[in-house]
Symmetry: C3
Amino acid sequence: MTAFRKTAESFTAGAKTLPQRYFVSPEIFEKEQNVLFSARWVLVGHQSQIAKAGDYFVQEVAGESLIVVRDKGGEVRGFYNVCRHRGTRLCEDQVGHSSKIQCPYHAWTYGLDGKLIGVPNMDEESVPGFDKAEYSLHGVGLALWEGFIFVNLAKKPTPLEEVFAPLAGKFSHWNLPKLRAVKRIEYDVRANWKLIFENYSECYHCPGVHPTLSKLTPYDSAENDLCEGPFLGGFMPITRGKSLTMTGNTCALPVGDIKGEDHARVFYYSIFPNMLLSMHPDYVMVHQIWPQSPERTLILCDWFFHPEAAGVTDPGYNPNDAIEFWDMTNKQDWHVCELSQQGIASRAYQPGPYSPRESIPAAWDREYLRHIR
Amino acid sequence: MTAFRKTAESFTAGAKTLPQRYFVSPEIFEKEQNVLFSARWVLVGHQSQIAKAGDYFVQEVAGESLIVVRDKGGEVRGFYNVCRHRGTRLCEDQVGHSSKIQCPYHAWTYGLDGKLIGVPNMDEESVPGFDKAEYSLHGVGLALWEGFIFVNLAKKPTPLEEVFAPLAGKFSHWNLPKLRAVKRIEYDVRANWKLIFENYSECYHCPGVHPTLSKLTPYDSAENDLCEGPFLGGFMPITRGKSLTMTGNTCALPVGDIKGEDHARVFYYSIFPNMLLSMHPDYVMVHQIWPQSPERTLILCDWFFHPEAAGVTDPGYNPNDAIEFWDMTNKQDWHVCELSQQGIASRAYQPGPYSPRESIPAAWDREYLRHIR
Amino acid sequence: MTAFRKTAESFTAGAKTLPQRYFVSPEIFEKEQNVLFSARWVLVGHQSQIAKAGDYFVQEVAGESLIVVRDKGGEVRGFYNVCRHRGTRLCEDQVGHSSKIQCPYHAWTYGLDGKLIGVPNMDEESVPGFDKAEYSLHGVGLALWEGFIFVNLAKKPTPLEEVFAPLAGKFSHWNLPKLRAVKRIEYDVRANWKLIFENYSECYHCPGVHPTLSKLTPYDSAENDLCEGPFLGGFMPITRGKSLTMTGNTCALPVGDIKGEDHARVFYYSIFPNMLLSMHPDYVMVHQIWPQSPERTLILCDWFFHPEAAGVTDPGYNPNDAIEFWDMTNKQDWHVCELSQQGIASRAYQPGPYSPRESIPAAWDREYLRHIR
């Protein structure tokens, strides 16, 4: 595997961290929101979170509140959370179930397909020129990849399959579409969102920042197989039959058809621009990264398990063993990201040299700069 | 009365809600503060709130703290709350009583007429060129209408009587100057101030938003007699001998010389740009609307009763029956206004069609657009 | 002493307070941060606060977090609190002790002299072109005056001795370098920083604002000996053998070689742009003034005593007697400063006339205007 690392290191020679403006400028933040978060496919959830027709959740994307709902035909759809009458927010709850979407103000009512179906005192005979068909909810682009739901605010988005073509089949044995989301933790981090990606993409910081993790996986053992472009990452070895948990043991059924060596590996991939995908033998962790301002990021972290793990079939099912481990480790990461944000804002900050252990952060920065100059 | 409604509806045909910028733009907010709140007559209170010489209250108008005080001659006066020495805020309490206005910093002292009467260590002999007469408090335009106190920050305001001429005599049998303010509740609402007016001006939202109110007054029964211009509104019927209270019964003496049909009516008028006047047989409710930012509004709500209601002469006096009713109803309204603010800020928002039941909001918008383009 | 005051008064004739923009403008605030706080010597502490090698404190100056540390040779040094690797904040604690400066993120390690001495996985052989000598911490100008530590963010600062030449020897009998800091209180004040200086520089406000102080020292007794320029102030008499304390008695050993009359005097000096120096027979109080925004100032107040006062040699040592007195008096001052800030923000504010008792605030304003136009 040395070959991999050599390649990675050669990319890194001379690479430096991004200039200060990328971490503090409101103009660059706005550009990111327009070019990345309003015009590319971004992760908003997983199909298991809206399993039945009428299930919905609300997610904010680029400042826009969106309703993601499973309609009566079983299709997942996305709408702006805005009534066509006087603009009122329609759904207040973050998650829910309903057979229709009704505005809380004047009771205009929409079907789960977004069509306006009820308008008090506005029958089309008495109000000439009013046509319900002109007042459907505004929709957004929505597509699925391996069971994960992505939305795209662009008017004519590039098809998702095209964007994700390089990953076709790569994760199919992981059973991702069928996993069940068991727990979500939200983190409000006082750091630029890019620091989260740079932090996730290297384990050079592990000895000092993550003493518990470092006992389970050697910090200098990363084997990266995606080293350039919008998909980056690889695996780190663990002891076969173990996992990243507080006890060090696996805590659930294997999540997928895991073969041979993969029982002794944890896979870490970043998926540009807002997804982190961490696959352990017994669970999958996914982070959604939501920039709020140049200095602040909201992070949603979900833990997924085999759909049968939660039932009687897995007596060893103990999800908190994994959740507690990563909640602790996440917080350690966010803390150093916040410290970096503070220092980078200084007039003394200059881009510093990435070490050979930081080839993936350097590659992530290069991908970012392909979009934002 | 059908004629009234027909007229109103004809105004509304094709009317749509205001474009997004009117609800979110800091530039438009600043223009409103200059053109409306700094240059027109705005409601700040009622004469019963400063009944005796030396009584004062402090009200912020367009970012300016003003002292409104009854002077020794019984006249009501308004001053900027700013010492002429080093600019110090003079009155810290929102209401109070004092025989003079003294600066808490260096004890410069002003009469209730605003004249500088005491300056330690600054006698005019020892300090050549210093003349107390040049350092009176800065005054503001102030006038009364039906007992309500209005101020105007313009240098040369149009006389109040001229502005209110269309209403001359209309409310004289309501006894408004003699009413007594019994209760004030402050509301801090995360919505643009215009949404408050638009909300007040229609009952199309009542069935869904106000279940209790809707039992007492049919939502589709409004009879508007002021349908265009700065004064808008009309009445809605209630059961004779009843009122809008938690119990549904009247809770005090009739406020004025109420005649015949008016015992079965509640009158609702909006008075541009910051007053809502709601007259029930047994009490009067007045809202002051104070924009704080494009997305935030402070609302002062006062309940007024017959001056003798509070005494032994009215054994049925139970003001909380009215106050609780409207406090509940107010909060229901502010909540949907806040939801509208959220949705209107979306890129998906477009002006939507006003229904025939929303002729008065449409007229209010037209009046607004006469001042702010 | 009348001569002194006459001179002062003649300076004041016709002097008025500063125009509004100096108290509210973000542009002027930014200019002050650049011209004054980033380019002149500013007080950050006293050498007794980092007595031993490895002792450090962190202070924010003009938005920059600085580490002030005593190195192994006993020299006091200042560094930007920013790692040269990825910009991470190095020291999180406000005060501490350490034999080296180690980054909490990737463990890059610096000596107390700022030199990079440890870099994991970055030995210079394996990483061509990497030279530790190029990655020392960024230093800041630092110098001492009478035991007080000053920093200067300018690239080529005027030597401190040159700036402080007018004060050479003036305070040498006060024993300032050897005093010990006993207590710090932080105040967060909603007022422009210049109002703090103007407030400190006159006792015209004392009768109304400081009833307790006014009993101990007559408000109209100030004798100023520095009446123009960056160093301003003088003394006010107290009863010999007494001090400014809650009990009115001295509360510790005399701080220095105090002679004759000085046992009956309290000296007050402002040292441009961020130091207030108040010397009582038995203690010294020093304020650091840190502007945070046009409308907000952070104030650090330290009380210093004779180094032996805290030990067995001074049975009368009761520092709280002084600390409580000035904590009370400070808060009275900050309150009127906040009231001034509120009023000065009004459109009605105009520069007002300084009285003859306000010659030093007027002189301070003149000095300020020499730097900021």
